[in-house]
Each structure stands twice: as C-alpha cells, then as structure tokens.
Subunit: 151 residues, 10 copies
C-alpha cells in the first residue's frame, strides 16, 4: 500500500528543480506512451494504461524524463482518472508557463474487469487541453495525430 | 433465454442511484471497447460487438463502470441495433444532463453469418450523437479519433 | 457458370418486400466488410473483395441483412466494378428514399493477377455517393472514418 | 539489363489502344498497391515499392489493368522517382482527359540500403496531383484516405 | 566514443556538393523511417528512433540518400532531440532553398528506460516546420498523413 | 430455426455421389480453416469457429469442396462439439476408406460468452484421429503443423 | 473485496451437479484462453491472465462452460498461481476421473508491475499435468501445440 | 484462356537447359512463398496460393529462379492441386537427381468461395515428398519448420 | 553511470531473504519476458532485451518477483551477455536447489547498431540450462515452447 | 560497384584479430536477424535478407559484432547464396574451433522479382551445419527454434 501512495511525499518542485532550461524552440514537444499505474479511490482497485503529454514551449524547456516523473507523482496516489489528467496538465502549465499543454490518458480499470460488469476490454480515455491546445483546433488535432502514430 | 432478457428487470435509476458525483471536469470522457451481446428481435439470433461511449460533463460526473452497466441493461433485451444505440444515448443524457453524449456500436449479426447471405465478416456500425456532439463537428470527430486509436 | 450469374433472376423488390420498417432513426447506418465476388465482363475472370454501405434513413429503415442481399443480386452477374458500385447505390436509394447513400467497393481483380501485368497486390477502389453524402463532405468523411476502423 | 529497360520499347498508345470506354461514371476510381520495380539512373541500383493511382473520369473510362501497364512502361527504364511519378500522371491525363489524376509512389531505394548510409528502413514518397486533385483539397485527402486503408 | 561523435567532422556542404540538381518538380518529396541514433548530451546515454523528412522543391532537387546523410551528420554528436530536429530542418532549408521543409523525429531515450523513471515504452516526438509547412496547415497535415502510412 | 437445422435433410451420399475419383495420390491432403456454425443442443445457443480436415488417400480422392459440404451437413443440426467432430471424421472414413482421417474443430461457444461465466475469449478445441493419424504420431504431428501454419 | 473472494462460497459439486454426461468420446478436449483474475495472497494485488485446460475423457464428459466455472471458483480467492493451477487440475480430475488432465496458467502479476521491480511485461507460466499428460510426452506436447495455435 | 494454359507449350528441359551447375553443396535448399495461380479442371474456376520447394543437392545445383519457372509450367494448365504438386516434385527429381525433393502447395480454391458452400477462408494443403524427405522424418520436419518461419 | 552499476551493491541473499517458501509444487515455473538492460563491458554501450527464466522446484518455492530482482542485480553491472546468463542461472540454482534451472536471454546490442557494422535488427540469444533442463531434452523443449508462446 | 565488392579486400583474420577471448561458456550462442545484402554473380542483381548464426563455444568466445562483420566480408562480393552460407560457416569454424557452427540465410533475390518469373514474395533459405549441429539433431532443432522466435 505504501508503494502505491508514495506519490504524496514528492512535489513537482523537487523534481523540476534544475531541469528547466532556456532554449529557443517553439514547436510542439510530445512524450507519448508513458506507462501509468494508479489506484482508483472508490474501490482501491488498480487502473493502468498510458499517458500522452504535449506542450508548446514558451522559451522554457524541460528535461524529457521529468514529464514522466510528474506522471509518477500524481498517479502514485488514490485517484480518479479525470482528476489525474487535470493535475498533470496543471502542474506542467504552472512549471513551464508554455503556450499550451495537452494530456491524454487511456487506461483500463480493474474495477470494470474484476467486479460485476466484467467488461474486460473496456478502456477509458480522458483528456485536458490548456492554452493553444484549447483555443486552436489544429494544435489539438496534430497532437492526436502524432500520438496515434503506432509503430 | 431468461439470461438474455434479464435487462428488462433493471432500470437505469437503480444503477446510477449513488454513482453520480459533482466534479469540476468539463472535458470529454470516453469509455470505449465495451463488449456487448444482444438478441435481434426479428430472428432471435444474437448480435455482438463493442460499444464506445463519450460524454462531456456539465458538472455531474458518473462512475465509469456505470456506463458499462447501462450498456448491459439495454442489450439484455430483444433489440434492434439502431434502437439500442439510441436508448443508451438517451439514458445517459437524461441521467447526467451533460453538454453532449455520443454512442457508437459496431456489431456482427449472426443472422448475416448463419442464415442465407452468409456474409461472415460484415459488421454493422450505428451511432447516435446528442448535444454538442451533434452541433459541433469537431467534438464528433475527436470522439471518433480517440475511439479508433487501436493499440 | 450458372452460379456466377444467378443474380439475373432475382430482383431487389423480391428481397426488400417486407423488410422495410418505419423507425424513428435518423443517424447514419453502416454495414461494412461485406464479402463480394463477381465476374469481370471483359475477361470472364473473377474479381472479389469487400463492399461498405452506408445510408442515412429518412423514416424508412431496412433489415440489415437485406443490404448484403442487394450486394449479392448485383455481383452475381457479369460486371464492371464501377457499374456494380453504382447499381447497389441506386437500388438502395430507390427502395429506401433515404437522406443519402454511400457505397465503397474495394476489390482484387484476377485479371491483374493472372494475366500479363501480374500485379498481385493491386486493389481497385470505387465509390458512389448520393444525397447528403455527395453534398456534405462531413458525412462523406465520417463514413470513410467508420469504415476504416479496423479491428 | 535488357529486361530492366524494356519499357523504352513500349508506348502508352499501344497499350490503351482499345481499352478506353465511354461510361457514365464520375466518381473517383482508385487502383492502389501496384507493385513497382525500377532502376535508379544515378547508381544503376534498383528501387521498388508501390504505386497508387486515382482518376476522376470525364466520360472516358479505362480498363483497370491498363493503369498497371502504364506503371510498367515508365518504371522499366532508368529513372528518378520524382520523374517516374510525374510521367505516369501525365500519361493518364493525356490519354483519358479526366477531371483529375493523382499518383503516389512509395519506394525503398537500394542505394540507401546497400551503400554508405545503410538506412535500411527508409522509404521515399513522391506524389503528383493534376486537375481537381490539385485544386480541391478534399479530393486529394479522400484519395489519401482510401489509399491508406490497410487491410 | 569516437564513433558517436564523428558527426562533428563532416559538413553539409561536403555531402551535398554535387548532388543538387535542377529538376522541374514542385510536389512534396518525403523520405520517412530514416533510422537515427544519437547521444543525449545530458546523460551521455543513447536515444534512437526514426526521422521523417519532407521538402517541397523550388527548382533544386537533392539526391535522396543525401537527406539521410544530413541526419547522420547531426545525430553523430552530443545532442538534444529538439535541437537535432531543428538543425536538420535548417540545413536542408539553407542548401535547397525549397518552398518548405518539415522534419519529425520520434525517438526512445535510454535515459527514460534505464534510469529512475523506467518508462520503457515512452517515445518523444519533436517536429520543425519551415516555409509552407508552417504557413499552410494542409501541407503540414498531408506530410503527417503520408508519414503515418504504415505498411 | 429452419435454417440451422437444414442439415438433417441432407445425406453424405447425396453429396459425394459423383465426386469421388480414382487418382494415384497417397500423400496427406489438408483442407483447413473451414468456417463452421452450429447450434449447441443444450442451450440452443450458437457455437462457431473453424474445422481442419486431413485424409491420406487410399486410391480414392474426393473433390475438395465436398469436404466442406460434409462439415455443413453435420453442423446444421443441434450438436455437441465432441460429437460433431466425430461424425465428420467417421463420414469421411466410410466414404473414402482412406489410410487415415483427422478432424480438428476450434470453436467459440456463445453460451460461455453470453451467459453466466462470461468468458469471452475461451475457445474449445476437439479432435478425432482415425487410421494412421491414430497409430502414427508423425502423421498426427505433421497435420497439426500444416494446420497451424498461419499466414 | 467481497467480490474477489466470492469463490470461497461455491463448491465444484454445486456446479458440476448435473452437467456430467456419459458420452463415447475418448479424444482430448481443450478449452483454452479462459480469462482469469485473482488476488495474490502475499500483497493483495491482482494477477490476471489466461487458463488453458485439457482432459481426455474416460466415458464421462462435462459441459464446456463448467470448466470455466471451476476456474472461477478457485481464482476468486486469495491465491498463489502455483496452487491455483494445481487446485483446478485436481478438481477436474476428481470430478471426471478422466485419463488425464492438463492445466496451464499464464498470468501477469501486478506486484511485478506496480511495485519495486517494475517489470511490466513479465508473465508467469505454471502448469500441472495429471494422468496420461504426465506419463505420455506426446499428449503433453499435443496439448501445448493446440493451445499455442494463435489466430 | 490462352494465358491460363500457356503452360502446355513449355517444357522443363527448355527451361533448365543451361542452368544446372556442378557445385559442392549438400545441404537443403528451400525456395518458399512462390506465388502460384492455376485453373481447376473440374469447374474452370481459378485456385491460387503459394508453393514451397526444397531439394537436397547431389552434386547438381539449379539456378533458383528455375524452380519458380517449373511451378509456372505446371500451374498454367488445367489442373488438380494434388496432381500439380506431384508434377512439380517429379520434374525436379528427374532433372536434378537430388537426394530428395519436397513440394508443399497451399491454395485457396475459388470454387469453394464462389459456389455453393461459400467457405471463404478454407485453404487446401497438399504435399509430395521424394527421396530422403520421404525416408527421413527429420528432413521432412526441418523443411516444414523452415517454410513456416513467417516474417 | 552510477545507476547502471548499482547492481554491485546488492546481493542475492538480501533479496531472497524471506521470500523462499516450502510448497508442494513440482512442476516447471516459468517467468518470461522480463525486461532487461545492461552495459557491455567492452564498449560501455548498452544492450537490452528480455530474460526468460524457468525452474522446477524441489520443495522450495520463491516469490515470483524475486526472480526479476535477481535479473536486476546481475544486469546492473558491466557485463557480457554470456556471463550474465550464467550468473542468473547459478544464483537461482544455489538459492533454491531446484531440480533444474533454465535461463534464456535475447538482447539487442547497441554496439552492433551504433558502431561500424550497423546491423540494426540483429539479436543475440544465449542460454544456460542446469539440472534436468540439461539432462532431459523434453524439459528443455517444453521450456522453449512455453516461452515462445506469443500473445 | 566498388561498394558491393569491397568484401574482397578484407580478411577474417583482420577482423577477429583481437576479439577472441577465453571464456568458460559452453552453451549455444545465437546471433540472429543480421541484415545481409549481396550481389548475385549470375545476373549482377542484388539479393538481400537475413543471416542467423549459432556456435557452441569450445573455450574460445568471440565478440558478438564480429560475427556480423564476417557476414559483411563474404556478402560484399559477387556471390551465390549457397556458397555464401558455407563460407560464413567455414570461416567461423576455422577461427573459433567450436563444438559446432550453424548458419541459415533467408533471402529475396531481385532476379526472381524483377525479371521474367516475377515471383515477388519468393524467399530462398539455405543452411550449413557443422560439428554437433550436424551430428546432433537436437542442437540443430534448438537453433531453429530460437531463431524462429519472432517478437
């Protein structure tokens, strides 16, 4: 149990501390297929899947692995998928003040698989779009296109 | 036979009773690949496949597994795929009063496979879009994009 | 030979006779991946593949397997793929008077495979769009999106 | 060597001679996944892949296998992929005077694989769009959608 | 170590020297799936993946394998993925003065896999769009469509 | 219902009547991936899947499509998968008096999917081996190897 | 929690009560890909995967879905995969007194995925072979061959 | 028609004339996945698929493409799959006098697909093994293993 | 660097301390597809892939995740793949004194990919078999069969 | 041309010079999926594919990338696939004096694809087995099993 909730002890500040650089790059940066495991706060049953993150830098750029760390911090808590998605997006937005942030989480919930309904293949997709991802449908779409590019 | 029609005895109210929460989330929530089995009311032959559901919350949020329960209630009856799709969409719309609801069902009909025509691979796709999914082509399209994202 | 041309003896009226219902459904209905086999009228060599059909009902709804039957009637003749596509679309249009009809056929022609050119993997795609599928690019596109959704 | 360059001896006229028909069909006709082999004129090293062709008839329709023959004529020469793509498009345009012609070629070049760079998976994609495929982005896009529909 | 940094010794001029031709071709040329290996300048740990490049010629055309060589020159250095993407795009832009250049890099970073976060499947996607790829969303989208066309 | 049980009216003799030839061939003949649909006699719920058949001729050879017909005759009845497998094997054995007959059926039972257990992916495999397929493990194994060869 | 442990309240006798038939079938019966969910008794973390079961009847045959029920009974408890595998095999052996029973379970353990080691793709395979499956390597091998036949 | 039967005019001697070399190689040579098209002599309907050929040289070695030519000669006739398989094996055996010859043909018969039974996915596999492939089960098995190695 | 070599500080004893149980299970236990990352001691370049482990218990059983831990201990050092394979096998053998231990490692070496030879797809497979896996070819083979069972 | 034949200038001794180590490892070492490109000496047309190599060390172990180098040396010449396979096996055998060497090459020959026969999918497989791989069928088979393990 301790392991699943260790996210409470870490803060985004600790992690990003010295990993934010000034760099002249203003195109969308996408980190996709970040494995994610969390615990549903209603049934204490796991849900897991993948997070896809994009941001359009506004001078400040962050080390790529830090985005994955932020996913860790918020997923290692008792969660609801909708809230988890929003917390990740907001944290990145505050730390980097970018032109836009987009987060999509696609997850299977063990409560749907192991309890009554037994829908084994159901997946839940939630998304939060901030800044230009919200105002500009083309950025939003380009993000989805790049994320869907399966190998 | 009893099993296939047990949907008549359950109501959406019973299921959603205490699973609707107030939450500050206003982005599309998608639950996709919900396995679905029903019985065609014309030939009493099964049809089965997957339902994909999306809604954009308007303050009220529902437990994810409840969406799968609603699919169960309406599919465990003698059905026509077009009507089943609409019943699911309308039920969600009435219970959550969201900004929009979208339901797509993709199913194989055993009547096409086992009777005269013998079209073994044919699949039928029906959809119902309510609220912003009907008025805003971008929401409609984003839903289809997220649903099609195969792993 | 008799078998390949049995389509001449059947009429669309015979088939649809009592399978058209009044139903309050006005969203696109898609039947996709209908296996199809026909005989090219130029070389008497087979071509085969899949037909995808969509229509947007205008009060009248048809039993799903009937759409597959219509494909049978017109493909069991000496054909040209372009004409076959059009005949299916027109027949549905006349019988159901829907808001729109779309038919796409994707087929491999044995004449390309077995004769001179020997292009074994070539596929021919033809389409006919009537009503709103012709006038509204979004319906047209949504149909293609739903049809392409491979499992 | 003789074999790879036999394309010089054939003409498009010879091939299309009696395979052009008057037919009342005005929707896009696509022939995709036509295997293609040619010889790069710079290094005399082969390149090979697939050609996808579409045209929107303007009264005149051509036998499907003839499109594959035209690909043969121009690829059985010393070539550059950009020029090959254009020659095929222009030849169809002149012979059929259609509303539009689109040609996409996707090929692997052995010079990239076997010589210095050794990029084994690199593929080159070239395209030429004439008529409505050039002026109307929706035709252009529909062609790409139909071509990408992998089975 | 010497091998990973040999890119410092080569220049784009050396490579393109005599491989730029005048050719009458003004449609997009795409070279995709170019394998790419580089070394992250922060942790000296490798990152690798694929580069996709497109340009729309403005009279000047370049030998296809040269585009792969340019990827080599800039990836055989200590790098950051964002910068690498931009350097490739700028180099092509300066050498060919085309109507537009687009570069997308999709890569896995061993630092995410082998160090703390252990996100084994995470991939980072960066892109740089110059000229018409920046100003015209349709060119941008067509490039992404052609690149995503998996076989 | 009539359709699912039409198998009662046909006999193997009718079908094989004039399709048995004398031919000098004594190697295993395999017909695999024969689609099969039947009705479980316990729950009147369908089961469907594929039959694989092999026989080693003893002078008498049968038209290939007749083996598929025999599968039809016995599956279009109320059945149990174990019995269906045996009936097909015995029928072929009596009609052709071969050196050996092998039948494998792999099927999904809707009773497992739609009723209580809800095991959606479970498949049942039954087999009957007669003659040399029973006495000689190598024939048995070669049959399984050839059948498993997926494309 | 109640749901995961409901297996304690059911007995194999209840389930098999009237589903054992006398039937003249003595070839291996395989039910494969039975989805399975259980709870590791060490960490109370789920493990899930598939069970494959085979038995060679000795006069007594069981309804196919009952084998899946037995998997349910023993997996809906606090378990260890090795013990679960054995319990299923022994229960079938006692109820049917067959010539042999084979059970293979392949499962992913969330404790490996969510806790320290973070080996996301690791799968554990356990097997128990009784009767002829233990004494006769060919039966054992044939079972594995039939189970591995992926579609 | 002329095209499908052009095989009658060619002889194996013409083809192998000067393509047999003396070479010191005594390990199995396999040419697999040779596309094959023929015409069933019963219904004049095509069947097509792949031939796999192996031989173990006895001093004499043949140019690889000649094996494909031999497949052409015998398939471009009115055929029965069993006889076609044997003719290819015998022809190679007589021309090369090798230690052994093995031929496997896997084909789909349009008569099964387009006529009454409509079994669309059924495939027929025939094989002929001569010399050591007949006497030594290990050679036979190694051939099947190498042939089944799908990419 | 510190991270890649942290394996030196851990011992197998620390890890297995209290995770060895007495259990009455004597069938093969397989843990497969354990992701593995290590550093080649010759070039300090990473190699990574998967480890598959099997053991046949002799009264003593180990917690499954501990096998993955042992892989970690020995791979987080400067290694050679052959030695790594042996160290894992020997460590398990000493700790559990089982009837047999088998370890297979399949890995891609960045030195083959990033340096001179540039063989991007090459994989190296090493194995160590102790106890009955060495003496009994059937155990050895069954292990390989179970490990190769791809989903 | 110079590039394809650069193999003549290198010798196995040069390459293995200082990469042979004494190591106490006596289990099979496999390096598989080594990309390979060569030039057929009959038609000067390329053939390419993959080499799989195994050896069982007899005290002497070689650096893994050296095996790939040996493939380079012999393939960068005018070749015949049968001879290329043997030369690689013999070179390893002489340099390492192992207990056994096995080499399998699977290649597509452009002469089959681009010239008369046009068999586009045909692949040629050749193998040479020395030492225990020749005398012990189990080693031979284990090599094939490990090589065929596709991911």
């Amino acid at each position: 149990m301790q392991f699943f909730t260790k996210g409470y002890k870490e803060t985004v500040q600790d992690i990003l501390n010295d990993a934010i650089f000034d760099e002249n790059h203003d195109e969308m940066v996408v980190v996709k297929d970040i494995d994610l495991f969390s615990l549903c706060e209603h049934h204490l049953v796991p849900f897991f899947g993948k997070a896809h993150i994009a941001y359009i830098p506004n001078k400040k750029v962050v080390g790529l692995s830090k985005l994955a760390r932020i996913v860790e911090i918020f997923s290692r808590r008792l969660q609801v998928q909708e809230r988890l998605t929003k917390q990740i997006a907001v944290a990145i937005n505050e730390a980097l003040e970018p032109l836009g942030v987009a987060v999509v989480i696609e997850a299977a919930h063990m409560c749907m698989v192991m309890r009554g309904v037994q829908k084994m293949n159901a997946k839940t997709v939630t998304s939060v779009m901030l800044g230009v991802f919200q105002s500009d449908p083309r950025s939003r779409k380009e993000f989805l296109t790049l994320t869907m590019e399966k190998e």
